[in-house]
């Protein structure tokens, strides 16, 4: 304890604080980029997976395989897979790119199940009514199904992203300068592990708590009847 108090002023030097803030920003940026891209790709996966018709069977199978495989392997393994396969596609990929791609691969698989659940919650008659009015599949999806599925999709998708902030700590394994990596560095410089990792823990908390509250707010607002959130709601056709 004494050692912690003694180290505190030095630990809280401007240089260290900037370092930690930067690392926190890096963690957030990586998570946000990976999850947002993953969110969009997840829509594509679900859309392809639900393509009707016999000729689309290979497409459907490929989508199912992707989702089932990448949801089931540990995130750390995905990171290493990306680390070692990315040079085949991209020369000199930065660690940031590797981190984002890894997060994205996992998030796509995971969020696509959330999206599929949301889409399935829309009554079948809505889709049939659209079909009998000659709306095509893209139109039915964009105009009818997704606007109704979003309230079901967004809260768990946000919750996934927020909880993933902490899981990105794993990319420190490959030397990414994110929060946990900086923590290890400072610890190696002789600062007390309790002090360093206590601070790091606090920073993780600071990042995810407000986002978590925002997620809860979204959930409440999206659950309100359509009529009470008009004009501020998702864009309609």
């Amino acid at each position: 304890m004494e050692r912690i108090l003694e180290q505190l002023p030095r630990f809280l030097s401007q240089r260290n604080l900037v370092l930690l803030a930067e690392a926190a920003g890096m963690t957030l940026a990586m998570t946000a980029a990976g999850c947002l891209i993953g969110f969009l790709l997840a829509f594509v996966i679900v859309y392809l997976r639900q393509t009707p018709g016999r000729w689309a069977l290979p497409v459907r199978l490929a989508c199912i395989a992707y989702v089932e495989i990448f949801r089931r392997i540990p995130f750390l393994v995905i990171i290493y897979l990306v680390l070692f396969t990315i040079p085949l596609v991209l020369r000199d990929a930065s660690l940031f790119v590797i981190a984002v791609v890894s997060i994205c691969i996992y998030a796509t698989a995971y969020i696509s199940e959330i999206i599929r659940g949301g889409i399935e919650s829309v009554p079948r008659q809505q889709v049939e009514a659209a079909a009998t009015m000659n709306l095509g599949r893209p139109q039915t999806t964009l105009w009818v199904v997704l606007p109704q599925a979003m309230p079901v999709i967004v809260p768990p998708a946000v919750a996934f992203g927020v909880s993933f902030i902490k899981d990105t700590a794993l990319v420190s394994q490959i030397g990414m300068f994110e929060l946990t990596f900086r923590g290890k560095e400072l610890n190696n410089q002789g600062y007390s592990a309790v002090l360093v990792f206590g601070t790091i823990a606090f920073v993780y908390f600071l990042m995810s708590w407000p986002l978590n509250l925002w997620g809860q707010y979204l959930e409440k607002r999206l659950a309100a009847p359509r009529s009470q959130r008009r004009r501020r709601t998702l864009r309609q056709p």
Partner: protein
């Protein structure tokens, strides 16, 4: 020549045969009521007609032209000539009343926006909802929702209107407001196929009653004949049960 001619239509859900050779005719301006016990295939007939379920065999002719339900283009064409209203969840929950009514005519049929909006307002006034143009479905009663659904179907200017038990999910006190709208349409000469369990209403508006059982048509004729003097034992039993309510 009947406007709509259905001949020997067979349809299946998986391996379960739901329609085993259904034939029926509908003339222009005629109201045909489809009645029969639950599970007899009434809804399935309508679903086949609008291309939601592909028939295995048999033929459907509209205006003398045979419809090939395997052709996406022909299905699209047939959906331009028929409109259907289901028992519930017809209206798009994420759109207000006006948007529900005008969406397909404007965005799919590419009709003139102003003309469609004028028509939509007129139709909504006609079903008694001129005050609710910008309400969302969750702000309307079940009866109001069904009336909007009918207005939406009419805005498509169908040649044939298909109504599948449009009142059976409603509270009893809301049934009449919807039946009034249908009665009005019948009087004006709208061609309709009406699936209904409201026998008094069927007797009043239908020109012809078609009774189905186990995927087949077992009787067909004027309401008085079918409802009061059914020929088959099965029909007697059914009407006996339903009219005693």
């Amino acid at each position: 020549m009947p406007h709509l001619e259905v001949r020997d239509v067979v349809a299946r859900y998986g391996s379960h045969e739901v329609l085993s050779g259904v034939s029926l005719d509908v003339d222009r301006g005629e109201v045909v009521a489809l009645v029969g016990p639950s599970g007899s295939g009434k809804s399935t007939v309508l679903r086949v007609l609008v291309g939601l379920l592909q028939p295995v065999s048999g033929s459907v002719r509209v205006g003398g032209q045979a419809v090939d339900y395997r052709s996406a283009g022909q299905v699209r064409a047939i959906r331009n000539r028929m409109a259907i209203v289901f028992q519930q969840y017809n209206l798009f929950q994420n759109m207000d009343v006006m948007r529900n009514v005008t969406l397909a005519p404007i965005r799919i049929k590419r009709r003139d926006r102003r003309e469609v909006e004028t028509l939509a307002v007129a139709l909504l006034e006609r079903v008694g909802l001129g005050q609710k143009l910008h309400a969302f479905p969750d702000e309307l009663s079940g009866g109001q929702q069904q009336r909007v659904a009918i207005a939406r179907a009419l805005a498509l200017r169908p040649e044939i209107l298909l109504l599948d038990e449009v009142t059976s999910a409603l509270d009893p006190e809301l049934v009449n407001e919807v039946l009034d709208v249908i009665r009005d349409l019948a009087r004006e000469g709208m061609t309709m196929i009406l699936v209904s369990h409201e026998m008094a209403f069927v007797r009043e508006v239908a020109d012809r009653v078609v009774m189905m059982d186990k995927g087949q048509v077992i009787e067909s004729g004027p309401p008085a004949e079918i409802l009061d003097a059914p020929r088959t034992e099965r029909a007697r039993e059914f009407f006996g049960k339903i009219l005693r309510h």
